[in-house]
Structure formats: structure tokens, C-alpha cells
């Protein structure tokens, strides 16, 4: 932000950073083969839904497109609003055919169409769900504003996270996934519906 912007209090919400979403489609192979962390077959994109008819129409079209393109893999789409007023569009692969590529393509289709409609700054993040050998959920969160990924591992108890596990994952995937370097931006997402 320039000096003039600071002086006049002019502030534009940042649009998405250069897209590094597809890094997950190679990183998951390492996760699976070396660390026994398997994709759960679900991913979600989180954004602020504008209460305008134009935006709602964009979302509806999007659901149709994802359903249509998911013909072979039969990706299911469901949307829900969380208590913070953000909308989750959840993409689910049928059991037995978890494909991270298909999910990433679907998520990317949704985010591109929101950007094309001129609402790229409404995107919050995408979440890809995994499970480890003990069937504990592990999430990888992609921050659109920063173009970085970070792991999120909820732990037992109310709003607890396993920071140790997250830092291990960071080390294990360094070089494969562009990781958020600032740890204070590893924001948790409680109550992930996938």
C-alpha cells in the first residue's frame, strides 16, 4: 500500500495471489506413499457469499458445472453456510475412488468462475481433507490471498490443535507444497464440515 493510499485511507481488498492450488495434486502422492496419509475424498472451497441475485446465480451455475464435469468420477456437490456467514461448497468423491486431481479441478473451476464474475476478493480458502493411519483427520488449507498452504490438525478436546503434528507435516512436505512461512497466519478453521 502506497503512501497516498495510507493518507487517503483508500483500501482495496486484495484479490487472489498467483494460483498454487494444484501443488496439492503432487504433494498428496508423497503423503500417501511415504507418510501413510490418504486423501479422504472431500475438499471444500470457502467464500463470502454476497447477498445479490447476480452472485447467487453465479454459484448456482457453478454447482451445475461441477456436477456435469464430475460425470466420470461422479463428484457430489453440497453447499452450506457456517455460523460466521461464510459459504462452504463441499465436493465429495464417491467412496473407493478418492481422486485429489478431480477435486482440485472442481475447486479450481469454482474459484475461477467467482473470479471471472469479478468477486475474486471474496475467496477465503480451500480445504482438502486427509486421514492418517490412525483415521485421524488432517486438513490442508489453501489461502487464496497469500497463495500458500498450511496443515491444520484438530486434536482431541474443544478447539485444540496438534501444532506438533502440523510442524512435522510442514517439514515432511517442504519443497512439495508452498507452505505459509508465517506461522501466525496458520489460522484454524473449527468445525470443518468435511
Amino acid at each position: 500500500m502506497g503512501l497516498l493510499d495510507a493518507l487517503t485511507g483508500r483500501h482495496q481488498v486484495k484479490g487472489p495471489a498467483p494460483d498454487r492450488l494444484f501443488a496439492i495434486t503432487t504433494a498428496y502422492i508423497t503423503l500417501q506413499s511415504e507418510h501413510q496419509i490418504a486423501p479422504a475424498g472431500t475438499a471444500a472451497i470457502v467464500f463470502q457469499a454476497l447477498a445479490t441475485s447476480e452472485f447467487e446465480a453465479t454459484i448456482k451455475d457453478m454447482e451445475e458445472v461441477v456436477r456435469a464435469t464430475g460425470g466420470e468420477s461422479a463428484t457430489q456437490v453440497a453447499t452450506q453456510d457456517d455460523s460466521y456467514g461464510y459459504r462452504w461448497m463441499v465436493l465429495r468423491n464417491p467412496a473407493g475412488a478418492p481422486s485429489v486431481e478431480d477435486l482440485a479441478v472442481g475447486i479450481n473451476a469454482v474459484s475461477s468462475s467467482i473470479e471471472t464474475a469479478g468477486h475474486g476478493e471474496r475467496l477465503l480458502c480451500s480445504v482438502f481433507a486427509f486421514v492418517d493411519a490412525q483415521q485421524q483427520p488432517i486438513y490442508f488449507i489453501y489461502n487464496y490471498k497469500r497463495g500458500f498452504w498450511y496443515p491444520f490438525v484438530p486434536a482431541a478436546g474443544d478447539q485444540q490443535r496438534s501444532t506438533e503434528r502440523e510442524l512435522q507435516l510442514k517439514a515432511q512436505l517442504s519443497g512439495e507444497l508452498p507452505m505459509e512461512p508465517e506461522l501466525e497466519r496458520w489460522f484454524p478453521l473449527w468445525g470443518i464440515p468435511i
Binding site: Y84, N108, E182
Partner: protein, 308 residues
Amino acid sequence: MAATSPKRHTAFGRDTGLQARMLLTMFLLVVLYIVLIGALFAVGASGVTILVVALGLLAVQLFTSDKIAMGTMGVKEVSPAEEPELHGIIERLCVQADLPKPRVCVMEHPMPNAFAMGRSQKSATVCATRSILELLSPAELEGVLAHELTHVINRDVMVMTLASFFAMVASLIVQFGFLFGGGFGGGYGRNREAEEAIFVAIAVAAVVYAISFMLLRALSRYREFAADRGSAVLTGRPSALASALLKISGTMERIPGRDLRTVEGMSAFFIVPARAKNSLMNLFADHPPLEQRLAALERLESQLQGTA
């Protein structure tokens, strides 16, 4: 992959009028301050002494005011475990605004209000009173917190502190100028000349103080409009903030104005000023009247709905 197009069209238009008024106000302040500096140098040594003292005060203000305010106002930092919803809203807004997360505080106070402190984005603190957390719905609270975070993004504490620096110098001269008149006179012969110069400097300072006071208030009002606008752009929900302002102001008018002195100094960064609203003329108010803020938010909602 969809790269952002260089010309990104957004749901909200620009508000060049507001920016022009803000720049004009700052320009007038600078002109005024140049006059003041001129007068100070005309006085000579005592004028320069005052400048040095004021610079010291400025540093103290920038580096300690938030801590002093927090200490005296009963503001308590809260952890994510204590206030999960508050932290959740702020974290999401920080992701949206690409902002480092500020410290999150809660103040036990019967008045529903919120404010931001700190001279930079890294040292920012966002504080909400207990009663605003109870009063507002999550969407409304999000609007209010986005308003405060926009103050942080726009560096409003820094801008207002720097803008008011010479006004502070002027008020120092008005208050203590007569002391210098006695102390720096020197011999008998030059005494009268020096006294006259100091008298002129005090007169100039008084005028500068009076005009800059009004300009600073105007600047503060413009920055409130900018923060309202920033909140609407950040959340995409201008009407949620409008609803919050209505709720807050409704309660603020019902609650009697006792305990005001403790919050007086922080008023510039409250979302709604902590004083009775009828007692001040528009010209001197540091927040714009509610009706104007609601009208501005309504315009933003129309732009969003494509009906403007």
C-alpha cells in the same frame, strides 16, 4: 490457472470525492503548520526549544499511548479459548484483508463499542466491549470489527497522531508561551523586543490551534467514512454494519453518560463516539452523524446490488 486480470472490476465503485476532501484537509493542515513553524523560528531559541519538547512528547505518545490506554481502561487481552467466536471472526477478516492478526482484547464496559489501537499493523490491538459482544449478531459484529481493522490497515492512529502533532505544539505555546517570555528576555534593552515577538508567536499559535482543531476533526470524520467503506468492501455486507450502527446508537442514547471521563481520550477510535451526540455541533464532532454514515452505507449496498 486463472490469473487476476490487470483491470479487476469490483462490486464497489471508487469514492474519489472522499479522498479529495481528505487530501484537501491535509493540505490545509500543512499550510497552517508551515505558518506556525515560521512564527516559531521568528521567536528564536525558545521556539526551537518548544519544538524539541514537542517531538519528545510525540515519541512518548506513539510508543506508549496504547499501553497507557489499556492500563487505565481495564482492557484485558483474551485468548482464542476464552473468546472463540471473536477470534474466529477476526482471523477470517485478517485472511481476507491479508493482515497480520492483531491482539484481541475485551473491555468490561456497559457501553457497546469497539476500537483499534497501535501505531503499525504489527503492533495493532483490536478491542471490543463486553456489551457489544452481547448486543450484536455475528454478521453485525463482523462489520464492526472490519471497520476497526480498516483503521489498522489505513494506519489511522499513526496518521492522526502525526497530523495533530503541530496542533499539540500550538497548544503548548498558547499554554506555556508566557513562561518563555519571562525567561529568555536577557538584558533590559532587548526585553521589550523579545516580549513582542513572543506575543506574536502566541497569537499565531492560538489561531493555528483553533483552525487545525476543526481541520483535524474533519479529517477524523473522513477517516471514519473511509473505515465504514473499508468494512463494507471487506465483508461484502454494508447493511450488516448499518444495522450494527443502528443497534449501537440506540443503546448508547439510552445509557446515561456516566463514567465518560475514562473513555474520553479514546473517542477518536471508537466506532461510535462515547459522548452524547446532541451536545456537539457537526463542525466539532470527530465522528460523522449517524444519518450520513447510514446513507453512505446504503449507497454501497445499492452499488453492490447493481441498482445504483
